[in-house]
């Protein structure tokens, strides 16, 4: 990975460290502070849920964590690298190797099958066709979709699409799994299935960062961080009473 910090923290240092991250949008004369000075540290193997009302900046925050978006200011230290120093191709490399992103709206490639979608990130790792499909098949098996590999996204139910998206995020064995409202579009039964899958991944040692506005979904993790108007207003262990 590029830009490793040689003098940086050792193995016990947090996987992610954000310092005073802000994201501002200029809308004409108005300045929208989607994020306004967020500092947070996340350790390897943690399951952290970010919660907050609509428009509180959760997705904006997750996009910055996922190296999709750059903050207006602040420092982002990810697994030994200062992200703000990296160029577009190095960011692409990080997105490919370190991060598994599960989007609010799935974001599957419409013309590729479930298997093709899951195999897609492996193309950018120069993994050959057969090996790629093998790995993708295995990832789909893990999310319980082995019998839907050749379906196109529009031939799958919402829950199945979500699981394809999860398989795609898992197939690269990323350091961090990021999920934006993973149960937002699903019924409670399917949500429970998905959350069970996350729980299992967490047990296997996967670092998990979830964005949700549902308190009971957030409660499943180790730690809940509350956002309001782009600021952290509360950072508590899961299960602690709200008040």
């Amino acid at each position: 990975m590029a830009a490793k910090e040689s003098t940086g923290p050792g193995e016990n240092a947090p996987l992610i460290r954000l310092r005073d991250i802000a994201k501002h949008y200029e809308m004409g004369s108005q300045l929208v502070r989607a994020l306004d000075g967020v500092s947070v540290e996340i350790n390897r193997g943690d399951w952290v849920s970010f919660i907050g009302s609509s428009g509180s900046g959760k997705s904006t925050f997750l996009n910055i964590l996922g190296c999709l978006d750059r903050p207006t200011r602040g420092q982002y230290f990810l697994n030994g690298a200062y992200v703000e120093e990296l160029g577009p191709n190095q960011l692409a490399e990080i997105r490919n190797r370190e991060i598994g992103f599960i989007f609010q709206s799935f974001n599957l490639l419409p013309r590729a099958t479930a298997l093709g979608n899951v195999a897609q990130p492996l193309i950018y790792r120069r993994i050959g066709y057969r090996r790629r499909r093998e790995m993708a098949r295995e990832a789909l098996r893990r999310v319980g979709l082995e019998d839907r590999v050749d379906h196109l996204p529009n031939q799958l139910s919402g829950g199945q699409r979500q699981r394809v998206a999860i398989a795609r995020a898992l197939v690269t064995e990323p350091s961090i799994l990021l999920a934006d409202e993973p149960t937002g579009n699903l019924d409670s039964r399917t949500s429970a299935d998905i959350m069970q899958l996350f729980d299992q991944l967490h047990r296997e040692g996967q670092t998990l960062i979830l964005v949700t506005h549902e308190e009971d979904v957030a409660g499943l993790g180790d730690r809940v961080v509350e956002l309001l108007d782009g600021k952290i207003i509360r950072d508590r262990r899961a299960g602690e009473p709200l008040a």
Binding site: D69, N89, N96, R97, L109, Q120, R168
Partner: protein
């Protein structure tokens, strides 16, 4: 690098096939462009191969000397001539000559009559040597002999077309034909030679040179042609140089006066035709290339639409790790493949057109595509694809991942 190209080609093919009709319409400009180029090239190339064959029938080692009056001289009413004296001079002093014959053409095509049939034909007076010089053989009867000339005999050797036009019997020997009011006895029938550049070599009547001279009125002003064939060890260039010097001297030409005659070889004639054909090919090819450019712009247009359409997809690919060059290669290769496919279809269509045209027009040579033309057409198509794919591909590659993902 290879990996990127391979994967890009795979996904480009998927995407081209996914929009079959649109891909085809996109590349139609290229299809039409390449098809026209190939049709034109295949026809002209077939033609020049055919001309090459025809000219070898003229006798490969022969020279023709004709009088030549530059336009400026013509305006002053001067006409250059080749005279029997010139012929005699060359016979006496020319080197490297195997056989030589004068030819005297009738001023205009002459009416030929046999029984109730009449036709017009080219009459030429010549000698027995013409047979060797022009590689002209008789299939029936005999050729003009030296004695025919000496006694100004009224005999004629006719071509196959003349025999057919006059409805003469299969063996016309010993029949009498009327040439411009004089009776001639047919002594021979020439072997058919076919057409050359629209000139029917079988529509011809040969009579003894001396007979022709005596029938042609004003003998002093006669302008003859001289045809000669070279001996085996003679070089065309050497002979041409020597004859030029001889004739210039005989015609009293000063050092800064132009030749008042021309010395031609069949090769020269053929080269001239080849040059003309190549020029036509180039000009038409150039015009048609413009349609390839237009086709390229069509591809660029659709590729730009396609980039916009697939903005989200591009965003997704970037979000899961695609770098700039991955996206760039994918769109560039897609544009190139589109164009190349169009080129291939165009190649097949063009060859089809060429063949259809050449086989529907009788006596037209069969179409043929030289390899260089096919390779050039393909190369040019690929080039057009890449050239016009750069802009859309760069646009796609430079998209910001988050903006692309948010695109509705």
């Amino acid at each position: 690098m290879f990996h990127v190209i391979f994967e890009s080609t795979r996904s480009a093919l998927v995407s081209i096939l996914a929009h079959g009709l649109r891909s085809f319409l996109t590349t139609l400009g290229i299809v039409i462009g390449v098809a026209s180029v190939i049709a034109v090239v295949s026809l002209t190339q077939g033609m020049s191969a055919f001309i090459g064959e025809s000219f070898s029938s003229l006798g490969s080692n022969s020279l023709t000397i004709q009088s030549h009056t530059p336009i400026a001289e013509q305006m002053r009413g001067v006409r250059a001539r080749l005279t029997p004296e010139d012929l005699e001079l060359i016979e006496r002093r020319g080197e490297g000559i195997a056989s030589i014959t004068p030819i005297l053409y009738a001023n205009r095509s002459t009416q030929v009559r046999y029984a109730a049939q009449t036709t017009f034909s080219q009459i030429m007076g010549t000698t027995y040597a013409y047979r060797d010089v022009a590689q002209s053989w008789v299939q029936r009867g005999r050729f003009i002999a030296e004695s025919d000339n000496l006694t100004r005999r009224r005999v004629a050797v006719i071509g196959e077309t003349v025999r057919e036009d006059l409805a003469l019997p299969e063996n016309p020997v010993n029949e009498y034909v009327d040439l411009g009011g004089e009776w001639f006895k047919v002594i021979g029938l020439l072997e058919p030679k076919g057409e050359i550049m629209g000139f029917n070599q079988d529509d011809i009547v040969l009579v003894p040179y001396a007979t022709m001279v005596s029938l042609s009125g004003n003998q002093a002003r006669q302008d003859i042609q001289i045809q000669l064939s070279l001996s085996e060890d003679a070089e065309v260039a050497d002979v041409t140089r020597q004859l030029t010097a001889l004739l210039r001297n005989a015609h009293d030409l000063g050092p800064d006066e132009d030749d008042d005659f021309t010395i031609n070889t069949p090769e020269q004639l053929m080269e001239t035709f080849d040059t003309i054909i190549n020029m036509v090919t180039l000009v038409i090819g150039g015009i048609v290339s413009i349609s390839l450019l237009v086709g390229g712009i069509g591809i660029m247009n659709i590729m730009l639409v396609s980039v916009t359409e697939r903005t989200r997809e591009i965003g997704i690919c970037k979000a899961i790790g695609a770098k700039r060059h991955h996206i760039l290669a994918q769109f560039l290769i897609e544009a190139m493949l589109l164009s190349l496919l169009g080129g291939l279809i165009g190649l097949a269509l063009g060859y089809g057109f060429g063949t259809a045209i050449s086989s529907s027009i009788e006596s037209f040579p069969p179409a043929s595509i030289p390899l260089w033309a096919a390779a050039l057409a393909m190369g040019f198509s690929a080039f057009v694809g890449i050239l016009f794919g750069i802009l859309p591909a760069a646009k796609a590659a430079n998209l910001d991942p988050i903006d692309a993902l948010r695109y509705e």
